[in-house]
Symmetry: C2
Subunit: 248 residues, 2 copies
C-alpha cells in the first residue's frame, strides 16, 4: 500500500489492468444537477414552483426498484430508457404534472443522454485513455451511453452497456460479461465507481476496484459517497488523481 | 439522384441517418497488406522465401468457411479471434510452418487488431463523427475491434461487434441487432461497405446503404470491389467524399 499523490494504491504496477471501466451515473456524471436543470427548463411552463432537485431525487429514487423487477425476473429484459420513461410518468402523476406532453416527457428521458460530467472527468479520461482501454460499465443502455459520450465529450473506446450482459448490476453476469466482451480475465479489468456496493459486487467476480469520492452526488450537505467499506485496490479523490495513481 | 462532388447520392438530406456504421475488413482497413507484413516480419526466421501476401490470402480464404460453420449452427457461437487462430494453424500446416511457436501464432492472430486503415479513413471518420454516431458493424469481436480502434486511431463512438447479435453477417440478425442496440429504426442507420453482398443483406433489413470502392482490397491488378450490383443510397470513391456527400 502506498500513497501516490492524493491516492491510496494497494496493487503493484504489474497488477495494473488492461481496461478501466466506469460506473457512470454519479461516478462520471452529475445526474442530479443535470436532471434538475432539465426538469426546471421544461416543466416550469406547466406550473410555477417546480423544484427540479426534488423531482430529480424522486425520479432517481425509482431507479433501483425499476431495475429490481428486471433483475428478479418479474419482467423481461427492459432497457433503462424505457424504465426511465415509466418512472417519470409515475413521478409526474404524483407531482400534479399529468398534463406534460408526450414530447416533453421524451425530451426529459433524453436528458439522461446529456448529463454533465464532474469537472475532473474529461482530463482524467483522456489521460487514462492513452494507457488503458476505457469504457462505461453501466446499467445504461448502449444507445443512451453512446449518445451521452458524444453529447458531453466522454472519449470512450468501447460502450459496455447493460445489453452486453442483459443483466443489471450488481448481478454477477453484468461484470463477467464486460470482461468477456474484451477477451480479458476479470483481474485484467478495473471497475471505477463512487459506490461501495458496486465495487463489492465487481470484486466478488474478480475485477480490480477503484473508488472515487463523489461527496456531492446527492447535493451539498447530503450524505454523498460513503467511506470505503473495504480496502479497494485504488482510492482517489477524482479521475485526475486516479490517472496519476495508475501511471497514465 | 445527384452527383455531389465525386459521389452519387440517391436519398434526400431528410432521409440521412443518425448512425453510420462500417464494415471493417476491406472497407476501413487494408487487411491484406497488414497481414502480409506481419507474416513476413514474424515467419521469415522459420524459413526463407515466405510470401506474406500468399499466406494472407490463404488465411483470409478460410474466413467465410470458418464463419459458415457458426452461421449454420454446426458449431456454437465462436468469436473471430478464435476462428482466426484455427485458420492460421491450418494455413501454417499447409505451408511447412508447423514449427511456429504458440507465442508467434498468437502474435499473428493479434495482427488483425492493428491493421492499417486506407489513407482516406482517418479524415473521413473524423468528419462523419462530428455529425453522426459512427461505429463498426463487423464480424470482428468487440475486443478485436476495440483494440484495433485504439491501435490505429479509429475514432468510433460505439463498438458493435459480432457478439452484439451473436450472429455473423450476412445473417439478418447482425444488422437488426446493431440498429436495436442504438434504439434506432433500421432506416435511421446506414451501413457503409465495399462489398455488394453485405449491402444487399443490410438493405433487406431496412438499413440505408453506402458503397465505397476499394479497388486494391485483393492487391493491385486483382479484382477488387465489384461494380455496384444495385443502386445503393450513396456511392463514393472514399470516406472523405462520403463525408461530403452526407453533409458532414
Amino acid at each position: 500500500m502506498s500513497n501516490f499523490g492524493r491516492s491510496t494504491v494497494r496493487i503493484s504496477p504489474e497488477a495494473f489492468p488492461e481496461a478501466v471501466l466506469f460506473d457512470v451515473f454519479g461516478t462520471v456524471v452529475d445526474w442530479r444537477s443535470g436532471i434538475a436543470r432539465a426538469v426546471e427548463a421544461r416543466l416550469t411552463s406547466y406550473r410555477s414552483g417546480i423544484d427540479g432537485y426534488a423531482i430529480a431525487d424522486q425520479w432517481r429514487g425509482l431507479y433501483q426498484p425499476s431495475m429490481e423487477a428486471v433483475r428478479s425476473g418479474k419482467r423481461p429484459w427492459t432497457i433503462l430508457d424505457v424504465l426511465h420513461r415509466e418512472s417519470l410518468d409515475e413521478v409526474l402523476a404524483k407531482n400534479d404534472l399529468r398534463a406534460v406532453t408526450d414530447a416533453d416527457r421524451q425530451w426529459l428521458v433524453n436528458a439522461w443522454h446529456r448529463l454533465p460530467p464532474w469537472p475532473d472527468v474529461s482530463v482524467g479520461l483522456m489521460r487514462l485513455k492513452a494507457k488503458y482501454i476505457i469504457g462505461p460499465l453501466s446499467n445504461g443502455n448502449v444507445g443512451l451511453l453512446t449518445r451521452m459520450g458524444k453529447n458531453v465529450g466522454l472519449p470512450w473506446d468501447v460502450i459496455l452497456g447493460a445489453e452486453v450482459a442483459r443483466a443489471y448490476k450488481p448481478l454477477p453476469e453484468a461484470y463477467r460479461a464486460a470482461a468477456r466482451a474484451l477477451n480479458l480475465a476479470p483481474e485484467r479489468v478495473m471497475l471505477v465507481a463512487a459506490h461501495n456496493s458496486d465495487l463489492a459486487a465487481a470484486r466478488r467476480e474478480g475485477l480490480l476496484t477503484g473508488y472515487v469520492e463523489r461527496p456531492n452526488e446527492y447535493g451539498p450537505g447530503k450524505p454523498g459517497s460513503q467511506p470505503e467499506s473495504e480496502p479497494w485496490d485504488v482510492v482517489s479523490p477524482n479521475f485526475d488523481a486516479l490517472a496519476t495513481a495508475l501511471g497514465a
